[in-house]
Protein backbone atom coordinates (compact mmCIF):
# COMPACT_ATOMS: atom_id res chain seq x y z
CA UNK A 1 0.00 0.00 0.00
CA UNK A 2 1.25 3.44 -0.88
CA UNK A 3 2.52 5.69 1.83
CA UNK A 4 -0.01 8.26 3.01
CA UNK A 5 0.31 11.96 3.68
CA UNK A 6 -1.70 14.12 6.06
CA UNK A 7 -2.29 17.77 5.27
CA UNK A 8 -4.75 20.44 6.35
CA UNK A 9 -7.44 21.76 4.04
CA UNK A 10 -9.45 24.72 5.32
CA UNK A 11 -8.47 23.74 8.84
CA UNK A 12 -9.46 20.08 8.51
CA UNK A 13 -6.94 17.25 8.50
CA UNK A 14 -7.06 15.13 5.34
CA UNK A 15 -5.10 12.00 4.51
CA UNK A 16 -4.27 11.04 0.93
CA UNK A 17 -1.98 8.58 -0.83
CA UNK A 18 1.56 9.83 -1.49
CA UNK A 19 1.83 11.20 -5.00
CA UNK A 20 -1.61 12.80 -4.90
CA UNK A 21 -1.99 16.37 -6.06
CA UNK A 22 -3.46 19.02 -3.79
CA UNK A 23 -6.39 19.23 -6.23
CA UNK A 24 -7.05 15.54 -5.54
CA UNK A 25 -6.90 16.08 -1.78
CA UNK A 26 -9.43 18.92 -2.07
CA UNK A 27 -11.62 17.00 -4.56
CA UNK A 28 -14.10 19.81 -4.86
CA UNK A 29 -14.42 23.57 -4.80
CA UNK A 30 -11.12 25.42 -5.03
CA UNK A 31 -12.13 29.06 -5.42
CA UNK A 32 -14.89 31.61 -5.83
CA UNK A 33 -15.06 33.49 -9.10
CA UNK A 34 -15.09 37.29 -9.36
CA UNK A 35 -18.91 37.20 -9.22
CA UNK A 36 -18.93 34.71 -6.35
CA UNK A 37 -19.57 31.44 -8.19
CA UNK A 38 -18.01 28.28 -6.78
CA UNK A 39 -15.38 26.78 -9.05
CA UNK A 40 -13.43 23.53 -9.14
CA UNK A 41 -10.60 22.26 -11.36
CA UNK A 42 -11.38 22.31 -15.08
CA UNK A 43 -8.37 21.59 -17.29
CA UNK A 44 -6.42 19.43 -14.85
CA UNK A 45 -3.14 20.47 -16.44
CA UNK A 46 -2.10 23.90 -15.23
CA UNK A 47 -3.76 26.04 -17.90
CA UNK A 48 -7.17 27.28 -16.70
CA UNK A 49 -6.16 28.55 -13.22
CA UNK A 50 -9.52 27.44 -11.75
CA UNK A 51 -7.77 25.18 -9.23
CA UNK A 52 -5.71 27.91 -7.61
CA UNK A 53 -5.58 27.93 -3.82
CA UNK A 54 -3.42 29.28 -1.03
CA UNK A 55 -0.75 26.86 0.17
CA UNK A 56 1.31 27.61 3.27
CA UNK A 57 0.32 31.26 2.99
CA UNK A 58 1.30 31.61 -0.67
CA UNK A 59 -1.71 32.63 -2.77
CA UNK A 60 -2.57 31.57 -6.33
CA UNK A 61 -0.82 28.21 -6.33
CA UNK A 62 -2.16 25.73 -8.89
CA UNK A 63 -3.37 22.75 -6.87
CA UNK A 64 -3.44 20.44 -9.92
CA UNK A 65 0.32 20.88 -10.38
CA UNK A 66 1.28 20.68 -6.73
CA UNK A 67 1.95 17.39 -4.96
CA UNK A 68 0.73 16.99 -1.38
CA UNK A 69 3.36 17.20 1.31
CA UNK A 70 3.00 16.28 4.94
CA UNK A 71 1.81 19.19 7.07
CA UNK A 72 0.83 21.39 4.15
CA UNK A 73 -1.74 24.05 5.02
CA UNK A 74 -4.19 24.61 2.16
CA UNK A 75 -6.84 27.33 2.07
CA UNK A 76 -9.47 27.12 -0.65
CA UNK A 77 -11.75 29.98 -1.59
CA UNK A 78 -14.78 27.83 -0.80
CA UNK A 79 -14.98 29.14 2.75
CA UNK A 80 -16.24 32.70 2.69
Amino acid sequence: MAESITLTIDGRGTTVAAGSTVAAAIAGVTRRSVSGQLRAPLCGMGVCQECRVTINGRAHVLSCQTLCRSGMDVQTGAVA
Binding site: G19, S33, P41, C43, C48, Q49, L67
Partner: protein, 423 residues
Protein backbone atom coordinates in the same frame (compact mmCIF):
# COMPACT_ATOMS: atom_id res chain seq x y z
CA UNK B 1 21.00 32.95 -10.66
CA UNK B 2 21.72 32.10 -14.29
CA UNK B 3 22.28 28.62 -15.66
CA UNK B 4 23.58 27.79 -19.12
CA UNK B 5 22.71 24.82 -21.31
CA UNK B 6 23.72 24.04 -24.86
CA UNK B 7 20.26 22.67 -25.50
CA UNK B 8 17.22 23.72 -23.52
CA UNK B 9 14.00 21.76 -23.95
CA UNK B 10 10.72 23.25 -22.71
CA UNK B 11 8.27 20.47 -21.90
CA UNK B 12 8.90 16.96 -20.63
CA UNK B 13 6.17 15.14 -22.50
CA UNK B 14 6.96 12.61 -25.23
CA UNK B 15 8.32 15.23 -27.67
CA UNK B 16 10.53 16.92 -25.08
CA UNK B 17 11.85 13.66 -23.69
CA UNK B 18 12.55 12.33 -27.19
CA UNK B 19 14.33 15.58 -28.08
CA UNK B 20 16.44 15.50 -24.94
CA UNK B 21 17.19 11.84 -25.50
CA UNK B 22 18.27 12.33 -29.12
CA UNK B 23 20.48 15.27 -28.15
CA UNK B 24 22.03 13.33 -25.27
CA UNK B 25 22.67 10.35 -27.56
CA UNK B 26 24.46 12.60 -30.05
CA UNK B 27 27.27 13.34 -27.62
CA UNK B 28 28.00 13.59 -23.92
CA UNK B 29 29.74 16.97 -23.99
CA UNK B 30 26.64 19.07 -24.56
CA UNK B 31 24.75 20.23 -21.50
CA UNK B 32 21.03 19.59 -21.89
CA UNK B 33 18.15 20.67 -19.67
CA UNK B 34 14.48 19.70 -19.82
CA UNK B 35 12.10 22.11 -18.09
CA UNK B 36 8.50 21.32 -17.16
CA UNK B 37 5.89 23.13 -15.09
CA UNK B 38 4.55 19.87 -13.66
CA UNK B 39 6.13 18.18 -10.65
CA UNK B 40 6.85 15.05 -12.70
CA UNK B 41 7.96 14.44 -16.28
CA UNK B 42 5.72 12.72 -18.81
CA UNK B 43 3.48 15.49 -20.06
CA UNK B 44 -0.21 14.67 -20.21
CA UNK B 45 -0.16 11.28 -21.89
CA UNK B 46 2.55 9.94 -19.59
CA UNK B 47 1.32 11.88 -16.58
CA UNK B 48 2.47 10.52 -13.25
CA UNK B 49 6.00 9.96 -14.51
CA UNK B 50 7.40 8.13 -17.55
CA UNK B 51 8.81 5.39 -15.32
CA UNK B 52 5.28 4.31 -14.34
CA UNK B 53 3.83 3.96 -17.84
CA UNK B 54 2.74 0.79 -19.59
CA UNK B 55 4.21 2.26 -22.81
CA UNK B 56 7.75 0.95 -22.77
CA UNK B 57 8.94 3.85 -24.92
CA UNK B 58 8.29 6.10 -21.91
CA UNK B 59 10.21 3.88 -19.52
CA UNK B 60 13.17 3.51 -21.90
CA UNK B 61 13.44 7.22 -22.62
CA UNK B 62 13.30 8.06 -18.94
CA UNK B 63 15.77 5.38 -17.92
CA UNK B 64 18.29 6.60 -20.50
CA UNK B 65 17.79 10.23 -19.56
CA UNK B 66 18.21 9.44 -15.87
CA UNK B 67 21.45 7.67 -16.72
CA UNK B 68 22.84 10.53 -18.81
CA UNK B 69 25.19 12.70 -16.74
CA UNK B 70 24.76 15.70 -19.08
CA UNK B 71 20.97 15.93 -18.78
CA UNK B 72 19.29 18.05 -16.09
CA UNK B 73 15.56 17.88 -15.38
CA UNK B 74 14.02 21.04 -13.94
CA UNK B 75 10.56 20.08 -12.63
CA UNK B 76 7.90 22.44 -11.34
CA UNK B 77 9.48 25.20 -13.38
CA UNK B 78 7.45 27.57 -15.50
CA UNK B 79 8.78 29.84 -18.26
CA UNK B 80 7.72 33.46 -17.74
CA UNK B 81 9.39 35.37 -20.57
CA UNK B 82 12.38 35.96 -22.77
CA UNK B 83 14.75 38.39 -21.07
CA UNK B 84 17.15 38.78 -24.00
CA UNK B 85 18.01 36.70 -27.06
CA UNK B 86 19.01 33.23 -25.87
CA UNK B 87 17.78 33.70 -22.30
CA UNK B 88 14.52 32.85 -20.52
CA UNK B 89 13.21 33.87 -17.12
CA UNK B 90 11.72 30.93 -15.22
CA UNK B 91 10.04 30.51 -11.84
CA UNK B 92 9.64 27.51 -9.56
CA UNK B 93 7.76 27.21 -6.26
CA UNK B 94 10.54 29.06 -4.42
CA UNK B 95 12.40 31.42 -6.72
CA UNK B 96 12.98 32.92 -10.14
CA UNK B 97 16.10 32.42 -12.23
CA UNK B 98 17.32 32.81 -15.79
CA UNK B 99 18.44 30.10 -18.17
CA UNK B 100 20.65 30.76 -21.20
CA UNK B 101 20.80 28.44 -24.16
CA UNK B 102 22.36 27.95 -27.56
CA UNK B 103 19.45 25.95 -28.98
CA UNK B 104 15.90 25.98 -27.65
CA UNK B 105 13.43 23.18 -28.36
CA UNK B 106 9.79 24.01 -27.64
CA UNK B 107 7.78 20.94 -26.72
CA UNK B 108 4.96 22.69 -24.94
CA UNK B 109 2.20 20.27 -25.92
CA UNK B 110 -1.46 20.99 -26.29
CA UNK B 111 -4.50 21.90 -24.27
CA UNK B 112 -8.14 20.99 -24.69
CA UNK B 113 -10.69 22.99 -26.60
CA UNK B 114 -13.26 23.65 -23.87
CA UNK B 115 -16.48 25.15 -25.17
CA UNK B 116 -19.06 27.07 -23.14
CA UNK B 117 -22.54 25.64 -22.60
CA UNK B 118 -25.04 26.33 -19.81
CA UNK B 119 -23.67 24.90 -16.56
CA UNK B 120 -20.10 24.35 -17.71
CA UNK B 121 -18.76 26.37 -14.77
CA UNK B 122 -20.37 24.05 -12.19
CA UNK B 123 -18.00 22.12 -9.94
CA UNK B 124 -17.93 18.60 -11.40
CA UNK B 125 -17.59 19.74 -15.01
CA UNK B 126 -14.05 19.28 -16.30
CA UNK B 127 -12.23 18.79 -19.55
CA UNK B 128 -12.13 15.22 -20.85
CA UNK B 129 -8.37 14.94 -20.73
CA UNK B 130 -8.79 17.22 -17.73
CA UNK B 131 -10.53 14.63 -15.59
CA UNK B 132 -8.10 11.98 -16.82
CA UNK B 133 -5.18 14.17 -15.73
CA UNK B 134 -6.83 14.88 -12.37
CA UNK B 135 -7.54 11.17 -11.82
CA UNK B 136 -3.92 10.32 -12.59
CA UNK B 137 -3.04 12.79 -9.82
CA UNK B 138 -5.21 10.87 -7.39
CA UNK B 139 -8.48 12.78 -7.85
CA UNK B 140 -11.11 10.44 -6.37
CA UNK B 141 -13.36 8.98 -9.08
CA UNK B 142 -14.04 5.61 -7.42
CA UNK B 143 -17.77 4.90 -7.54
CA UNK B 144 -18.53 8.22 -9.28
CA UNK B 145 -20.87 8.34 -12.26
CA UNK B 146 -19.12 10.05 -15.13
CA UNK B 147 -20.30 11.19 -18.55
CA UNK B 148 -17.36 11.47 -20.94
CA UNK B 149 -18.21 13.82 -23.80
CA UNK B 150 -16.82 15.95 -26.59
CA UNK B 151 -14.91 14.49 -29.48
CA UNK B 152 -11.99 12.36 -30.53
CA UNK B 153 -10.30 9.10 -29.63
CA UNK B 154 -9.14 10.74 -26.40
CA UNK B 155 -12.66 10.19 -25.03
CA UNK B 156 -12.09 6.43 -25.16
CA UNK B 157 -8.74 6.67 -23.43
CA UNK B 158 -10.26 8.93 -20.77
CA UNK B 159 -13.15 6.54 -20.16
CA UNK B 160 -10.74 3.62 -19.87
CA UNK B 161 -8.54 5.43 -17.34
CA UNK B 162 -11.54 6.47 -15.24
CA UNK B 163 -13.10 3.00 -15.36
CA UNK B 164 -9.82 1.44 -14.32
CA UNK B 165 -9.89 3.76 -11.30
CA UNK B 166 -13.35 2.65 -10.28
CA UNK B 167 -15.57 5.22 -11.97
CA UNK B 168 -18.90 4.21 -13.48
CA UNK B 169 -18.97 5.52 -17.05
CA UNK B 170 -22.61 6.47 -17.61
CA UNK B 171 -22.04 7.21 -21.31
CA UNK B 172 -19.52 8.33 -23.89
CA UNK B 173 -21.00 11.15 -25.96
CA UNK B 174 -19.19 11.77 -29.28
CA UNK B 175 -20.19 14.71 -31.47
CA UNK B 176 -18.79 13.21 -34.69
CA UNK B 177 -21.27 11.35 -36.87
CA UNK B 178 -21.20 7.63 -37.64
CA UNK B 179 -20.08 7.88 -41.29
CA UNK B 180 -17.02 9.93 -40.30
CA UNK B 181 -16.26 7.60 -37.39
CA UNK B 182 -16.55 4.55 -39.65
CA UNK B 183 -14.18 6.09 -42.22
CA UNK B 184 -11.73 6.91 -39.45
CA UNK B 185 -11.94 3.38 -38.02
CA UNK B 186 -11.28 1.90 -41.47
CA UNK B 187 -8.25 4.18 -41.90
CA UNK B 188 -6.67 2.71 -38.77
CA UNK B 189 -5.47 -0.07 -41.06
CA UNK B 190 -2.83 2.45 -42.19
CA UNK B 191 -1.49 2.69 -38.63
CA UNK B 192 -1.59 -0.85 -37.22
CA UNK B 193 -0.38 0.19 -33.75
CA UNK B 194 -3.36 2.54 -33.46
CA UNK B 195 -5.70 -0.22 -34.64
CA UNK B 196 -4.41 -2.47 -31.86
CA UNK B 197 -4.83 0.33 -29.33
CA UNK B 198 -8.40 0.95 -30.52
CA UNK B 199 -9.22 -2.74 -30.26
CA UNK B 200 -7.88 -2.85 -26.69
CA UNK B 201 -9.95 0.19 -25.74
CA UNK B 202 -12.98 -1.44 -27.34
CA UNK B 203 -12.57 -4.45 -25.07
CA UNK B 204 -11.91 -2.33 -21.98
CA UNK B 205 -15.03 -0.27 -22.60
CA UNK B 206 -17.39 -3.09 -23.57
CA UNK B 207 -20.92 -2.51 -22.32
CA UNK B 208 -20.56 1.26 -21.91
CA UNK B 209 -23.15 3.25 -23.91
CA UNK B 210 -21.46 5.09 -26.80
CA UNK B 211 -23.57 7.81 -28.43
CA UNK B 212 -22.23 9.07 -31.75
CA UNK B 213 -23.60 12.16 -33.44
CA UNK B 214 -24.51 13.44 -29.95
CA UNK B 215 -23.43 16.23 -27.67
CA UNK B 216 -24.01 17.69 -24.22
CA UNK B 217 -26.26 20.74 -24.39
CA UNK B 218 -26.23 21.69 -20.70
CA UNK B 219 -25.00 20.69 -17.27
CA UNK B 220 -27.29 20.98 -14.29
CA UNK B 221 -26.95 21.15 -10.54
CA UNK B 222 -27.22 23.62 -7.72
CA UNK B 223 -23.79 23.92 -6.14
CA UNK B 224 -22.45 20.79 -7.83
CA UNK B 225 -23.16 18.95 -11.07
CA UNK B 226 -26.00 16.42 -10.81
CA UNK B 227 -27.00 15.75 -14.43
CA UNK B 228 -26.34 16.62 -18.04
CA UNK B 229 -28.66 17.03 -20.97
CA UNK B 230 -27.61 15.29 -24.17
CA UNK B 231 -28.80 15.93 -27.71
CA UNK B 232 -29.12 12.57 -29.42
CA UNK B 233 -31.13 11.29 -32.38
CA UNK B 234 -33.09 14.51 -32.67
CA UNK B 235 -34.18 14.51 -29.02
CA UNK B 236 -32.81 15.67 -25.69
CA UNK B 237 -32.39 13.33 -22.75
CA UNK B 238 -30.99 13.69 -19.22
CA UNK B 239 -28.23 11.59 -17.71
CA UNK B 240 -27.52 11.74 -13.97
CA UNK B 241 -23.82 12.02 -13.14
CA UNK B 242 -21.28 13.27 -10.60
CA UNK B 243 -18.75 14.38 -13.20
CA UNK B 244 -18.91 15.50 -16.79
CA UNK B 245 -15.57 15.19 -18.56
CA UNK B 246 -16.07 17.21 -21.74
CA UNK B 247 -13.42 18.26 -24.26
CA UNK B 248 -13.60 19.07 -27.97
CA UNK B 249 -10.15 17.98 -29.02
CA UNK B 250 -6.72 19.44 -28.53
CA UNK B 251 -5.09 22.69 -29.62
CA UNK B 252 -1.37 23.51 -29.62
CA UNK B 253 0.09 25.58 -26.78
CA UNK B 254 1.82 28.34 -28.74
CA UNK B 255 2.20 31.12 -26.13
CA UNK B 256 5.94 30.74 -25.65
CA UNK B 257 6.57 30.36 -29.38
CA UNK B 258 4.54 33.49 -30.06
CA UNK B 259 6.32 35.40 -27.31
CA UNK B 260 9.62 34.49 -29.00
CA UNK B 261 8.30 35.70 -32.35
CA UNK B 262 7.92 32.31 -34.06
CA UNK B 263 5.61 32.28 -37.06
CA UNK B 264 2.27 30.60 -36.46
CA UNK B 265 0.28 28.91 -39.20
CA UNK B 266 -3.35 27.91 -38.56
CA UNK B 267 -2.86 27.87 -34.82
CA UNK B 268 0.34 25.80 -34.83
CA UNK B 269 4.03 26.71 -34.82
CA UNK B 270 5.40 26.65 -38.37
CA UNK B 271 8.49 24.46 -38.71
CA UNK B 272 10.80 23.37 -41.52
CA UNK B 273 11.66 19.70 -42.17
CA UNK B 274 14.23 19.84 -39.33
CA UNK B 275 11.64 21.15 -36.85
CA UNK B 276 13.22 24.62 -36.97
CA UNK B 277 10.88 27.54 -36.39
CA UNK B 278 11.16 30.91 -38.14
CA UNK B 279 13.34 32.15 -35.24
CA UNK B 280 17.03 31.15 -35.37
CA UNK B 281 18.08 28.54 -32.79
CA UNK B 282 14.48 27.82 -31.79
CA UNK B 283 12.94 24.49 -32.75
CA UNK B 284 9.53 23.04 -32.02
CA UNK B 285 8.34 19.44 -31.73
CA UNK B 286 5.18 17.61 -30.79
CA UNK B 287 1.68 19.01 -30.45
CA UNK B 288 2.93 22.60 -30.75
CA UNK B 289 3.48 22.08 -34.49
CA UNK B 290 -0.04 20.64 -34.88
CA UNK B 291 -1.84 18.02 -32.86
CA UNK B 292 -0.91 14.48 -33.91
CA UNK B 293 -0.55 12.36 -30.79
CA UNK B 294 2.29 10.59 -29.06
CA UNK B 295 3.79 8.84 -32.09
CA UNK B 296 4.17 12.03 -34.10
CA UNK B 297 5.47 13.83 -30.99
CA UNK B 298 8.16 11.19 -30.45
CA UNK B 299 9.48 11.30 -34.01
CA UNK B 300 9.36 15.10 -34.16
CA UNK B 301 11.15 15.29 -30.82
CA UNK B 302 13.84 12.97 -32.08
CA UNK B 303 14.34 14.99 -35.26
CA UNK B 304 14.46 18.24 -33.28
CA UNK B 305 17.01 16.84 -30.83
CA UNK B 306 19.29 15.71 -33.66
CA UNK B 307 18.85 18.93 -35.64
CA UNK B 308 19.64 21.04 -32.57
CA UNK B 309 22.96 19.19 -32.33
CA UNK B 310 23.71 19.68 -36.01
CA UNK B 311 23.36 15.95 -36.57
CA UNK B 312 21.91 14.48 -39.75
CA UNK B 313 18.39 13.10 -39.79
CA UNK B 314 17.92 9.71 -41.46
CA UNK B 315 15.23 9.33 -44.16
CA UNK B 316 13.39 6.68 -42.13
CA UNK B 317 12.62 9.26 -39.43
CA UNK B 318 11.22 11.61 -42.04
CA UNK B 319 9.11 8.81 -43.50
CA UNK B 320 7.80 7.93 -40.06
CA UNK B 321 6.90 11.55 -39.44
CA UNK B 322 5.00 11.72 -42.75
CA UNK B 323 3.04 8.60 -41.77
CA UNK B 324 1.95 10.12 -38.45
CA UNK B 325 1.18 13.46 -40.07
CA UNK B 326 -1.29 11.56 -42.23
CA UNK B 327 -2.89 10.14 -39.09
CA UNK B 328 -3.05 13.65 -37.62
CA UNK B 329 -4.81 14.98 -40.73
CA UNK B 330 -7.40 12.18 -40.56
CA UNK B 331 -7.98 12.94 -36.87
CA UNK B 332 -8.55 16.63 -37.59
CA UNK B 333 -10.98 15.85 -40.42
CA UNK B 334 -13.00 13.31 -38.48
CA UNK B 335 -13.32 15.17 -35.22
CA UNK B 336 -13.74 18.81 -36.30
CA UNK B 337 -16.31 20.33 -33.91
CA UNK B 338 -19.78 20.66 -35.44
CA UNK B 339 -21.60 23.94 -36.03
CA UNK B 340 -24.36 23.25 -33.48
CA UNK B 341 -21.79 23.61 -30.68
CA UNK B 342 -21.71 27.33 -31.49
CA UNK B 343 -25.34 27.64 -30.45
CA UNK B 344 -25.13 26.12 -26.96
CA UNK B 345 -24.07 29.21 -25.00
CA UNK B 346 -27.09 31.18 -23.75
CA UNK B 347 -27.03 34.96 -23.11
CA UNK B 348 -26.14 34.41 -19.43
CA UNK B 349 -23.59 31.64 -20.05
CA UNK B 350 -20.15 32.61 -18.78
CA UNK B 351 -17.60 32.44 -21.60
CA UNK B 352 -14.55 33.97 -19.88
CA UNK B 353 -14.32 32.09 -16.60
CA UNK B 354 -11.58 34.23 -15.09
CA UNK B 355 -13.54 37.47 -15.37
CA UNK B 356 -17.09 36.00 -15.53
CA UNK B 357 -17.93 37.60 -18.85
CA UNK B 358 -21.13 36.25 -20.41
CA UNK B 359 -22.03 35.42 -24.00
CA UNK B 360 -24.49 38.34 -24.26
CA UNK B 361 -21.74 40.84 -23.49
CA UNK B 362 -19.31 39.25 -25.91
CA UNK B 363 -21.41 38.56 -28.97
CA UNK B 364 -21.84 42.33 -29.45
CA UNK B 365 -18.08 42.84 -29.66
CA UNK B 366 -16.34 43.10 -33.04
CA UNK B 367 -12.98 41.61 -32.02
CA UNK B 368 -10.87 39.98 -29.32
CA UNK B 369 -9.11 43.26 -28.65
CA UNK B 370 -12.36 45.15 -28.31
CA UNK B 371 -13.76 42.46 -26.02
CA UNK B 372 -10.68 42.70 -23.81
CA UNK B 373 -10.92 46.47 -23.58
CA UNK B 374 -14.69 46.66 -23.08
CA UNK B 375 -15.42 43.57 -20.98
CA UNK B 376 -12.10 42.29 -19.51
CA UNK B 377 -12.61 39.01 -21.42
CA UNK B 378 -9.26 37.24 -21.58
CA UNK B 379 -7.65 39.57 -19.03
CA UNK B 380 -7.68 37.12 -16.11
CA UNK B 381 -5.00 34.74 -14.89
CA UNK B 382 -5.44 32.15 -17.67
CA UNK B 383 -4.56 35.00 -20.04
CA UNK B 384 -7.14 33.91 -22.57
CA UNK B 385 -5.89 30.33 -22.83
CA UNK B 386 -9.40 28.94 -22.27
CA UNK B 387 -11.71 31.73 -23.50
CA UNK B 388 -9.40 32.65 -26.39
CA UNK B 389 -9.99 29.27 -28.00
CA UNK B 390 -13.70 29.42 -27.18
CA UNK B 391 -14.16 32.91 -28.64
CA UNK B 392 -12.20 31.90 -31.73
CA UNK B 393 -14.72 29.06 -32.20
CA UNK B 394 -17.82 31.08 -31.23
CA UNK B 395 -17.08 34.45 -32.82
CA UNK B 396 -14.11 33.84 -35.12
CA UNK B 397 -11.83 36.13 -33.08
CA UNK B 398 -8.09 35.81 -33.38
CA UNK B 399 -6.16 36.60 -30.19
CA UNK B 400 -3.59 39.34 -30.72
CA UNK B 401 0.03 39.34 -29.62
CA UNK B 402 0.88 37.38 -26.51
CA UNK B 403 1.85 39.44 -23.48
CA UNK B 404 4.67 38.70 -21.10
CA UNK B 405 5.01 37.25 -18.58
CA UNK B 406 3.24 34.44 -20.43
CA UNK B 407 2.17 32.82 -17.14
CA UNK B 408 1.04 34.45 -13.89
CA UNK B 409 4.25 35.42 -12.11
CA UNK B 410 5.07 36.43 -8.58
CA UNK B 411 6.02 40.10 -8.42
CA UNK B 412 9.34 39.09 -6.89
CA UNK B 413 10.19 37.06 -9.98
CA UNK B 414 9.96 40.15 -12.15
CA UNK B 415 11.55 42.55 -9.65
CA UNK B 416 14.73 40.45 -9.54
CA UNK B 417 15.36 41.16 -13.23
CA UNK B 418 18.29 43.48 -13.80
CA UNK B 419 17.04 46.67 -15.53
CA UNK B 420 19.12 46.19 -18.70
CA UNK B 421 17.50 42.85 -19.26
CA UNK B 422 13.98 44.15 -19.50
CA UNK B 423 12.40 43.72 -22.87
Amino acid sequence: MTQFFDILVIGAGPAGLAAGHAAASAGSTRRIAIVDDNPLAGGQIWRGGPAKQADQRARRLWQDLQGASNVTFLAGTRVLMQTQAGELLVQDAEQASTIRYNQLILATGARELLLPFPGWTLPGVTGAGGLQALAKGGYPVQGKRVVVAGTGPLLLAVAATLKERGAIIAAIVEQAGMPALARFAASLALTPSKAVQAARLGVALRGIPYFANSYVTSARGDLQLTSVQVQRKGAKSDIDCDYLACGYGLLPNTELARALGCEIDQGAVRTDPWQRTSVPNVLCAGEGTGVGGVDLALVEGRIAGLAACGEGVTPDLLTERTQWQGFAARLARTFAPRQELRTLAQPDTVVCRCEDVCHEELREQPSWRSAKLQTRCGMGPCQGRICGNATDFLYGWRPDAVRTPISPARAGSIITLEPHKET
